[in-house]
């Protein structure tokens, strides 16, 4: 399955890119995170503490155990600080 994966704020800076296309076998967000962590150290470091991250599937906030089926765009980012 091909996914657009987006990173924002300090996660974007640590990983060094804002958006990439990822080919994955994962069925959940957690599974995708495991695959990313296994890639390179910058991913391992960026995803070291999931409690400090949030995830959106197709622009809706979800939990890390949410299934990926049918998803097209996954975004990872720190807690929001708008307003």
């Amino acid at each position: 399955m091909k996914l657009d994966v987006l990173y924002f704020a300090w996660l974007r800076e640590r990983i060094g890119c804002a958006r990439e296309t990822v080919e994955t076998e994962a069925t959940t967000v957690s599974g995708l995170v495991e695959e990313l962590r296994a890639r390179e150290e910058r991913y391992t470091l960026a995803f070291s503490d999931l409690a400090s991250l949030r995830v959106a599937i197709d622009q809706e906030l979800r939990d890390f155990d949410a299934p990926l089926d049918g998803a097209r765009e996954i975004a990872f980012f720190p807690p929001m600080t708008g307003g």
């Binding site: 987006l6 924002f8 704020a9 300090w10 974007r12 959106a56 622009q59 809706e60 906030l61 975004a75 980012f77 720190p78 807690p79 929001m80 600080t81 708008g82 307003g83």
Partner: protein
């Protein structure tokens, strides 16, 4: 009913307040909130990043939820992104209702949800370096009021 704008350009808070309140004889209570970049001497620039697409969607969902909970005649949300300097207006919300309690509660609710559920991130460029603003536990806790 909803006027939601996400923009890089400045907005004119006074003008938007006047426009929002104008011509309303059905809804007697207007509440507005405006957020301003707070300067502390060391802050040079604040940069606001957002998630185009999801931002508008999240703000619309928050506005819809407010309209479901309270009897409102209108909701306005404007939020900027990009570089801002201390004293600049970052964002505003406005609510209109027949009753002041509804207008106050809805504006307060919009701010709490916008703060922790709309995809904006603030980065501060300070004299001694740059850093991302950390989310406050108190902002997350504020959601439990509703």
């Amino acid at each position: 009913m909803f006027d939601i704008r996400v923009q890089g350009a400045p907005f004119d808070y006074g003008h938007e307040c006047a426009r929002f309140a104008g011509g309303r004889s059905d809804t007697g209570a207007i509440v507005t909130f405006c957020g301003i970049v707070r300067g502390d001497g060391a802050l040079e620039t604040m940069e606001i990043e957002h998630y185009p697409g999801m931002t508008e969607r999240a703000l619309r969902q928050i506005a819809k939820e407010a309209a479901r909970r309270w009897a409102l005649g209108g909701i306005m949300i404007i939020h900027r992104f990009g570089q801002l300097v201390p004293g600049e207006q970052i964002m505003m919300v406005a609510t209109a209702s027949a009753h002041r309690a509804d207008a106050f509660a809805a504006a307060d609710f919009l701010m709490d949800y916008l703060k922790s559920r709309a995809p904006f991130w603030k980065k501060e460029m300070r004299k001694d370096g740059t850093s991302w603003v950390a989310a406050k536990a108190s902002d997350e806790d504020a959601l439990m009021r509703w």
